[in-house]
């Protein structure tokens, strides 16, 4: 079934209409509803089994109404709520430190071409944990993926959330993450987007507890005719809240990318600090790169900054490496790998880290 999707990844404050960057509208998206999804694996280390509860009804411990600011199209929201074929609840017990990452591994294949996952995560007080979501295709056929995750980080909890998307070149990927942070909590997000035809990602964090932290690091690599559409929003509600957005990307061939990154200091977010940066390397003259780094501020006692840079590879770096005996292609590869590895190195799962780096290396190799 093909449907129209309106207002995917809507920006919090609109700008000039003629640029058509306020939101993404897709006229024909093939959605696969009413199929089962059975390829899901969840890995929790044996040592950690008693520290978590799976499939617990979390509606009694967390107020799901807190996740209302959904800037995703109504259609996709509807699909997540009515047609989910994979539902997960993860509860991490208070004061528990998990030894190994919890891994949600979603493979899409010929028998499971569609994944509509609806996840709720509750990290209770002072727990520590790493959670990995991995989406990949084991087929060249079209895959449809629509994810809605609601993540609640309770007082003092420290969570690292790693999401890696590497679906095949024909697929559609929609990924919405609504995040709520309580007092003294900390969330590190690592987002890696290297696959699918359309990749629409949103992280929408609300720093509601005093002294809460949210750091978002993201890497995207778009070649061929891929479309990357990003909407990162960090709302500073409470005082002494800190956040950062650090995005690094490469665009090649005829890829298109829209990056929307919003830092919003609400009134009352006294002594808060936020930093945002985006660096894009362009490898072809047919790419299109839009960057919209928003800085919204209703509080004077804050420090905020953003920066964005777009362009080809730094000539001085290239020159230096070539003077050391690398040819141009190798030098370019090294610079891009270097730019990415900073972020990818933070992925605590060695296999996954290697898999991503290999994928990027292979594609850079095949390029030019």
């Amino acid at each position: 079934m093909n449907i129209k999707l309106n207002k995917v990844n809507e920006i919090p404050v609109k700008t000039y209409r003629w640029l058509k960057v306020n939101e993404l509208n897709l006229s024909e998206v093939e959605v696969i509803l009413d199929t089962e999804y059975k390829a899901h694996t969840l890995r929790v280390s044996d040592n950690d089994l008693d520290k978590v509860e799976l499939n617990r009804d979390l509606s009694e411990v967390m107020d799901l109404n807190k996740f209302k600011d959904v800037r995703l199209s109504e259609e996709l929201k509807d699909i997540s709520e009515k047609n989910a074929n994979s539902k997960s609840c993860l509860y991490i017990k208070a004061d528990k430190k998990l030894e190994e990452p919890i891994i949600f591994n979603y493979e899409l294949n010929n028998d499971n071409p569609s994944l509509i996952d609806n996840n709720i995560i509750f990290a209770d007080k002072n727990c520590e944990s790493t959670i990995i979501f991995k989406y990949s295709s084991k087929t060249n056929e079209y895959n449809f993926h629509n994810c809605l995750s609601k993540i609640y980080i309770a007082e003092g909890a420290k969570v690292k959330l790693i999401k890696v998307q590497n679906l095949n070149d024909a697929s559609n990927h929609f990924d919405l993450n609504l995040i709520h942070l309580e007092r003294d909590s900390k969330l590190d997000i690592i987002s890696v987007e290297i696959g699918s035809k359309n990749s629409c990602t949103q992280y929408n964090s609300v720093l509601e507890g005093e002294n809460s932290n949210c750091d978002l690091k993201s890497v995207y690599y778009a070649d061929k005719d891929r479309i990357i559409d990003i909407n990162y929003i960090i709302n500073h509600i409470a005082r002494r809240t800190n956040s950062s957005i650090d995005a690094k990307g490469v665009l090649d061939n005829t890829a298109k990318k829209v990056f929307r990154g919003t830092i919003d200091f609400k009134k009352g977010a006294i002594k808060s600090e936020a930093k945002e940066s985006e660096h894009v390397i362009l490898l072809s003259d047919k790419v299109k790169s839009d960057s919209i780094p928003l800085l919204l501020c209703s509080e004077d006692d804050v420090v905020g900054s953003h920066s964005a840079s777009v362009g080809k590879i730094d000539e001085y770096k290239l020159f230096y490496l070539m003077s050391r005996g690398f040819n141009e292609k190798e030098a370019k590869k090294l610079i891009i790998e270097g730019s990415f590895s900073n972020i990818i190195n933070e992925i605590s799962d060695e296999d996954l880290k290697e898999e991503i780096m290999d994928n990027i290396k292979r594609r850079l190799e095949g390029d030019k």
């Binding site: 006294i270 490898l283 919209i292 501020c297 004077d300 362009g311």
Partner: protein, 469 residues
């Protein structure tokens, strides 16, 4: 946590800017907008037929286009209550002696005559819908420089006006460009011939005196190959309790190797909707420099646009926005790079206080052919209290890979350490704050001729008086 002490002080008298004259007019149209009003304006001006047609066509476009879905709320602006054309009780004069006393006094208090004597090569003064005074130095006339009001230009320089008028900003660009096309009146026309260097600035001053009126002046400047010009635009109005509207249009054509500096000190009263459109088309190796100070108005939506069309074209934008109580100032720069080796530098500073909203909204577009081009954008915002708002909304739109584009923005308050340091040197807190704000806007003051830098400092003093952050 310690609570910082804050005192909020209301705005003070804006002095000379608030002088109201009794509204004396020779003719005015009824408020609102329809075909008859537009025909009436055209008839009053005794215009050629193509202009009447142009106006009617623009009106049609105006009725078709929707209001923007972004930016400040302008729903309070009711065009049916705006008088689009009000002719002062005088003809255009070439000597101040012939200008009616009350109008002359107003411009005198605004310092126009004094500036004309000392630092300007030519002056135009518009009062409500029509230009009341226009004069230019003899030697410039001899060199072929044309500086006159738009009405005269339509008649005396018809072929040139027809070629350029609303070709840079077309009526279908946005709703208020269409409105402007329909009811435009007054403004200045400048032509600088090839190779002529106008060393001393020309200035047009726009004053809106009548309550509930609109001002729609059209400024058309053509700087021919290798020529140079500095043009200054000033605007002000006294405050009324009803809404006034300013929807002017500025079209600048900067030819090969030419340089144009366009400076604006805008100080509309706080009942004004300032929905102005400014655009420049910049040819090969030419330069446009914008210096833009936005202090007044209730709502401003102003984004000077530079279209870098020729190889080696350059654009520089320096802007300061100061939003006080009841103001929503949405300003910024747009640069469209269309050719190789084009360069743009945008520097924007904004200050908001007492509930004012200051927004930087900008665009840098690197087109397909803009190879080896470079753009640098830097925005700084200063908030003087926690009831104000300051947003930065830039867009970088890149369509080729041989470019270098950078954007930076910072937001924050005056740090306690800086104030403490200055106070430890014997400066009062109030003076320390004023010093910091003046230092903050210094890059802008530097760009202005001395008299205007002084005026800007005075404006900042007016705005800052009594503020203790």
């Amino acid at each position: 946590m310690e609570k910082r002490k804050k005192t909020y002080v209301h705005d003070v008298d804006r002095g000379v800017y608030d002088i109201k004259n009794e509204v004396k007019f020779r003719y005015k149209v009824k408020s609102g907008l329809d075909e008859n009003v537009v025909k009436d304006i055209s008839k009053q001006k005794n215009e050629p037929e193509w202009m009447t047609e142009f106006r009617l066509n623009s009106l049609k476009i105006y009725n078709e286009i929707k209001l923007p879905e972004w930016g400040p709320d302008i729903s309070d602006l009711n065009i049916d209550k705006i008088i689009t054309y009000i002719r002062p009780n005088t003809n255009m004069q070439g000597s101040w002696d012939k200008v009616p006393e009350d109008i002359k006094n107003t411009f005198d208090k605004l310092g126009i005559q004094k500036a004309e004597k000392h630092s300007l090569a030519g002056v135009g003064a518009q009062y409500d819908s029509e230009v009341v005074y226009h004069n230019i130095k003899e030697d410039l006339i001899k060199q072929g420089v044309v500086y006159t009001d738009m009405e005269t230009a339509v008649k005396e320089y018809e072929p040139m006006v027809k070629e350029y008028f609303m070709k840079c900003v077309e009526p279908d660009d946005h709703k208020f460009a269409a409105l402007h096309g329909a009811v435009w009146s007054g403004g200045s026309f400048v032509y600088v011939p090839k190779g002529v260097q106008v060393d001393i600035p020309l200035q047009s001053y726009f004053r809106l005196n009548a309550p509930g009126a609109g001002q729609f002046e059209h400024t058309l400047i053509i700087v021919d190959e290798g020529a140079k010009l500095h043009f200054i635009e000033g605007c002000s109005a006294p405050k009324y309790s009803v809404n006034n509207l300013h929807a002017g249009c500025v079209e600048l054509f900067v030819k090969k190797d030419a340089t144009l500096r366009y400076s604006t000190i805008e100080n509309w009263s706080k009942n004004m909707y300032n929905l102005n459109t400014k655009r420049a088309i910049v040819e090969e190796n030419a330069t446009i420099e914008w210096v833009s100070g936005s202090f007044g108005s209730k709502v401003s939506m102003l984004y000077p646009t530079s279209v870098l069309k020729g190889k080696g074209a350059k654009c520089e934008y320096t802007g300061v926005t100061f939003a006080g109580e009841g103001q929503n100032l949405d300003t910024g720069a747009q640069v469209v790079h269309l050719a190789e080796h084009t360069y743009s530098t945008i520097s924007s500073k904004s200050i908001s206080k007492s509930g004012g909203v200051a927004t930087y909204r900008g665009l840098v577009r690197m087109g397909k052919n803009a190879r080896h081009s470079k753009s640098t954008v830097s925005c700084e915002s200063l908030m003087l209290d926690d009831i104000s708002k300051s947003d930065t909304i830039p867009v970088l739109d890149i369509l080729n890979d041989e470019v270098d584009v950078g954007h930076e923005a910072k937001i924050g308050r005056i740090s306690d350490e800086t104030i403490f340091y200055l106070m430890s040197r014997g400066i009062s807190e109030k003076e320390a704050k004023a010093m910091i704000v003046r230092g903050f806007v210094e890059p802008m003051s530097k760009e202005l001729p001395l008299e205007y830098a002084v005026e800007m400092n005075n404006l900042i003093n007016i705005e800052l008086e009594g503020t203790v952050g």
